[in-house]
C-alpha cells in the first residue's frame, strides 16, 4: 500500500468536528494544502438537515423514541438530544462496538461536522483558577500553559464563531468577545437578584453561547443569520444561527481552494518513519469497501474526538513505539475524565403569574464556580458550575381528570418551575482509562476500545455539596417544594452521557508524565498534534468546546510558524 503523489498534503486533519473544523480553517486560510478526513458521511449545511423545519405533527412518533431506538441503539439513544428529529446525526451502537469495563455511555456522531451539529453550544472561557488548580490542589499534572497564553486565541475564535452573552466581569469566568445576548425571564431574574443580595462569592449570569443573538459582519460573511429562538438546534439550523463546522469553519475553509475533504474514511493509525523520527501520514480504511489507503503530510492534527484520538494513537504501533505513538511513559489513555452531572434540583416558584416569556431560548442561567476557587473545600476536590432555568409548564390544576374542563385547563400555562443542574469537575485519576482490546475487533477490524471510567466518592461528595448550596439559594429566593435527585441513582445515568469526556493524551511540562507539550505536540513525535478533548490535563467546570477550539487555533498557528521555519 503506497501513497501516491496526489495523496500528499501539507497537513492532514483527522476529524471534522468542532476542533478539526478549526484546524482546517486556520491552515487553509494561510495557504496550506489541507486534507480533512472524516469517518462519517458527507453532511452539507442546510441541504442535509432533513428535519430542520418540520412541525411536531410531521413526525410519526411525535419525536419520541421508539422501542427500536431503545433496543437496537440502547446506549446512544440515551443522549438527551437523541430523538426522531436528530437520530440521523448519531451512530448506532453496532457501528463501532466497544467494551465497557465500567458503565460508560460513549456518545458518537459520525458525519462531516461530527458532534458540532449536536453540541449544547455553551461557551465559557477557562481562567487561571482552572489552569492552576491541578498544581495548587495537587491532582493530575500541571498545565503547561496559563490563561494569558490562551486569551488571544479565545478572542480569535469567539469573534469568528459569534458568542451571545454579556461582559460580566467575573474573575473565574473571563469575559468573551460577545455580540448580543439572551436574557433571563422574571423568575430567573428574581433568583439571580436574591443570590446577589445573599452572597458575595457567586453570581448568576445569562449563559454565553454560540447562537447568534445578534451578528457581526464576520458571521454575515459566512452566510449565517440571527437566532430565531426556535430551540431546534440539534436538527441543524437552516438559518446557520448556531456555530458548527458545517455552518462556519468548513465552508470558510472550502472557499480558500486549499481544502480537500474525504468522508467515509476511518483513520486506523498514524504512520511513523523510524529513520527520520517523524510521522509521515495516516493509514485509512474505507467504510464502504474496507479498502486501505495511505495519505501523507508534513503535519498531522488529530481531532477525532477524545476517545477515538486515544484509539488511533494506541493503534499506531511501530518498532520504536510498541505501545502506541509517543507512549514511552505508558500514560496514553490514562487520566480520562468527564463532567459530573449527577445532581439535579427541582422546585416550584410561586407568583409571577402575570409574566410569561416568548420564544425558546438556546441557553440558560449559569453560575460560575464558587467552591475550590479561592479556598480549598475540606470535603471534595474540584469545582462545579451551576446552571438553572425557570419555566411555566403547560397545564393548570383542575379537579377534573378528563373531559372539557380538564382539556381547557391543559391549554393554559401552569405555575413556575425551576430546574437546576451541576457541571462538576471530575478529578483526573490514573485508574480512569481507556485501552485497546487484545482480541476483540470492531466490524472494520480495528481493535475495540475498552473503557474503564467511573465515578468516585469525590463526585458524590461534590453532588451533596451542590444539593446543599442549591437548596439554600432556592430557599432564600422563595422557591418551594425543593427536591434533590441523584440522576445516577434515579435514572442509571453513567459517565459519558454529558459528552464531555476529555484526556488520555494530556498536555504537560514533563515528557515523563505527559504526552503533549505546551503547543499540543506529541513530546516524542513533534509533527503530530492533538487538539481535541484528548489533550486536556484536567476538565475544569466549564463547557469544554470553546477551549478545544482556542487550543486548536493556537496550535495550528504555531505549527504554521514551524513549517515556515523549516522545523517541521
Amino acid at each position: 500500500m503506497e501513497a501516491i503523489q496526489e495523496n500528499t498534503y501539507d497537513v492532514i486533519v483527522v476529524g471534522s468536528g468542532i476542533s478539526g473544523g478549526w484546524a482546517a480553517k486556520e491552515f487553509t486560510e494561510k495557504g496550506f494544502k489541507t486534507l480533512l478526513i472524516e469517518r462519517g458521511r458527507m453532511v452539507e449545511h442546510i441541504k442535509d438537515y432533513p428535519t430542520a423545519s418540520k412541525h411536531p405533527w410531521e413526525f410519526e412518533h411525535r419525536n419520541r423514541k421508539t422501542m427500536r431506538d431503545k433496543t437496537e441503539n440502547r446506549l446512544i439513544s440515551r443522549h438527551y438530544a437523541y430523538n426522531e428529529s436528530t437520530r440521523h446525526f448519531y451512530i448506532n451502537d453496532d457501528d463501532q462496538e466497544f467494551i465497557q469495563e465500567k458503565p460508560f455511555y460513549w456518545i458518537r456522531g459520525y458525519q462531516l461536522g461530527g458532534k458540532s451539529l449536536l453540541w449544547a453550544r455553551q461557551t465559557q472561557r477557562w481562567s487561571d483558577f482552572e489552569f492552576e488548580a491541578p498544581k495548587k490542589y495537587g491532582y493530575g499534572t500541571d498545565w503547561p500553559i496559563r490563561y494569558a497564553e490562551l486569551a488571544p486565541w479565545y478572542s480569535h475564535v469567539e469573534r469568528f464563531v459569534g458568542i451571545a452573552g454579556n461582559r460580566d466581569g467575573i474573575p473565574n469566568l473571563p469575559d468573551s468577545e460577545v455580540v448580543g445576548s439572551f436574557e433571563m425571564n422574571r423568575v430567573e431574574r428574581a433568583i439571580a437578584d436574591s443570590i446577589d443580595a445573599n452572597y458575595t462569592d457567586r453570581k448568576a449570569i445569562i449563559g454565553r453561547c454560540a447562537n447568534l443573538a445578534e451578528l457581526a459582519e464576520i458571521q454575515r460573511e459566512q452566510g449565517r443569520n440571527k437566532c430565531m429562538a426556535r430551540s431546534l438546534c440539534s436538527r441543524g439550523c437552516p438559518f446557520g444561527a448556531y456555530f458548527s463546522s458545517n455552518s462556519s469553519t468548513i465552508p470558510h475553509a472550502r472557499k480558500t481552494g486549499n481544502l480537500t475533504i474525504v468522508t467515509d474514511t476511518i483513520v486506523e493509525s498514524v504512520e511513523y518513519d523510524e529513520t527520520n523520527k517523524r510521522a509521515t501520514g495516516v493509514r485509512t480504511i474505507s467504510t464502504h469497501d474496507k479498502s486501505g489507503k495511505i495519505y501523507r503530510a508534513k503535519v498531522i492534527f488529530l481531532n477525532a474526538a477524545t476517545l477515538n484520538t486515544n484509539l488511533i494513537l494506541m493503534n499506531s504501533r511501530s518498532e520504536r513505539f510498541p505501545n502506541g505513538l509517543g507512549n514511552d511513559n505508558g500514560l496514553l489513555g490514562r487520566f480520562v475524565t468527564f463532567h459530573n452531572y449527577r445532581g439535579q434540583i427541582t422546585a416550584d416558584f410561586p407568583g409571577y403569574e402575570d409574566s410569561y416569556y416568548y420564544g425558546r431560548r438556546p441557553t440558560q442561567v449559569f453560575m460560575p464556580a464558587f467552591k475550590n476557587i479561592h479556598h480549598p473545600e475540606p470535603r471534595f476536590m474540584g469545582s462545579y458550575m451551576i446552571a438553572f432555568s425557570a419555566s411555566r409548564k403547560r397545564g393548570q390544576g383542575t379537579e377534573e381528570t378528563l373531559g372539557a374542563a380538564f382539556k381547557d385547563a391543559l391549554t393554559l400555562p401552569g405555575s413556575w418551575k425551576v430546574s437546576m443542574m451541576m457541571q462538576g469537575e471530575v478529578i483526573p485519576i490514573h485508574e480512569n482509562h481507556v485501552r485497546l482490546s487484545k482480541d476483540k475487533q470492531d466490524k472494520y477490524g480495528l481493535p475495540q476500545l475498552i473503557t474503564s471510567i467511573g465515578y468516585t466518592e469525590n463526585d458524590v461528595a461534590m453532588m451533596e455539596d451542590f444539593w446543599a448550596e442549591g437548596t439554600a439559594m432556592l430557599e432564600k429566593a422563595g422557591a418551594k417544594n425543593i427536591q434533590t435527585t441523584d440522576r445516577h441513582e434515579a435514572f442509571g445515568r453513567q459517565p459519558g452521557l454529558e459528552v464531555h469526556d476529555v484526556g488520555g493524551v494530556r498536555m504537560g511540562r514533563d515528557p515523563d508524565t505527559s504526552l503533549l507539550n505546551a503547543h499540543n505536540q506529541l513530546h516524542l513525535c513533534k509533527n503530530v498534534f492533538v487538539t481535541d478533548g484528548a489533550c486536556m490535563s484536567s476538565v475544569g467546570n466549564q463547557n469544554p468546546s470553546l477551549t478545544f477550539m482556542a487550543l486548536t487555533a493556537r496550535a495550528a498557528n504555531y505549527a504554521m510558524e514551524q513549517l515556515k521555519e523549516g522545523v517541521l
Binding site: 412541525h55 411536531p56 419520541r64 431503545k70 402575570d354 420564544g359 427536591q483 434515579a490 435514572f491
Partner: protein, 189 residues
C-alpha cells in the same frame, strides 16, 4: 425521592409526557386475544378516536378525534411500547367494552356523551390508583397508557398545537418578560 417520583418529576423537566417510562417492567399473566395489528382496523381506530374524544372533547378548540388521535394511538402502541404493554393495551380495550356493558348495558359507542365521561372517569380513577399502588414489577394500566398517548397525540397534532395552544414555529427572538393575562393559551412547544 424514589425512582417513580423522580420519573414523574422529570416528565415536566423534559417538557412533556414520559412515554414508556416503565419499560423495565416485565411479566404478564393474561393472554392477549388480539394482537397489536388489530388496533389498525378502521373500526378500532374510530373507537379509539371516540375514547380519546371523551378524554379531550371538542370545546372552543377541536377534540382529540378530529385531531387524528384515534389513528395515532395504534402507531405509538406498536412502535413505542414493549410487547407486554401492548398485550395489556389490546386486552384493555375489551375490558373497557365490558365495563360499558356492565354499567350501562350498551357498547361504548352506543353511550351518550355524559355516560362516556362518567364511565371513563371511573376507569381513569381505577387506572390512577393502579399506577399509584402498583409494585415496580407490575404492568401499567391500559387506560394510563391510552390517556398518556392521547395527551401527547393531541397537543402535538396540528389542530391541538395551533388551536388549543399557541404554536409559533419561528419566534424570531426571545423575550424574557412577556405579559401574561388570564386565559392566554400556553405555548405549544
Amino acid at each position: 425521592m424514589n425512582r417513580r417520583d423522580a420519573i414523574a418529576r422529570v416528565a415536566w423537566v423534559m417538557g412533556g409526557t414520559v412515554i414508556g417510562a416503565n419499560l423495565f417492567l416485565t411479566g404478564c399473566t393474561r393472554k392477549a386475544t388480539k394482537n397489536v395489528e388489530s388496533l389498525f382496523e378502521p373500526d378500532i381506530i374510530d373507537f379509539l378516536g371516540d375514547v380519546a374524544d371523551t378524554i379531550l372533547p371538542p370545546t372552543s378548540s377541536p377534540g382529540a378525534k378530529e385531531a387524528g388521535v384515534g389513528g395515532f394511538i395504534p402507531v405509538m402502541v406498536r412502535d413505542c411500547y414493549p410487547p407486554e404493554d401492548q398485550k395489556v393495551f389490546v386486552e384493555g380495550l375489551g375490558k373497557l367494552e365490558d365495563a360499558a356493558k356492565a354499567k350501562f348495558h350498551r357498547a361504548f359507542r352506543k353511550l351518550e356523551a355524559d355516560e362516556r365521561t362518567e364511565l371513563l372517569t371511573e376507569i381513569d380513577k381505577e387506572a390512577r390508583e393502579h399506577q399509584q399502588n402498583k409494585k415496580k414489577a407490575d404492568l401499567n394500566h391500559y387506560f394510563f397508557m391510552l390517556k398518556q398517548i392521547t395527551l401527547l397525540g393531541y397537543f402535538t397534532s396540528e389542530l391541538g398545537a395551533t388551536r388549543a395552544l399557541r404554536y409559533v414555529p419561528v419566534p424570531g427572538k426571545y423575550i424574557g418578560d412577556y405579559p401574561y393575562k388570564k386565559g392566554d393559551k400556553a405555548w405549544a412547544i
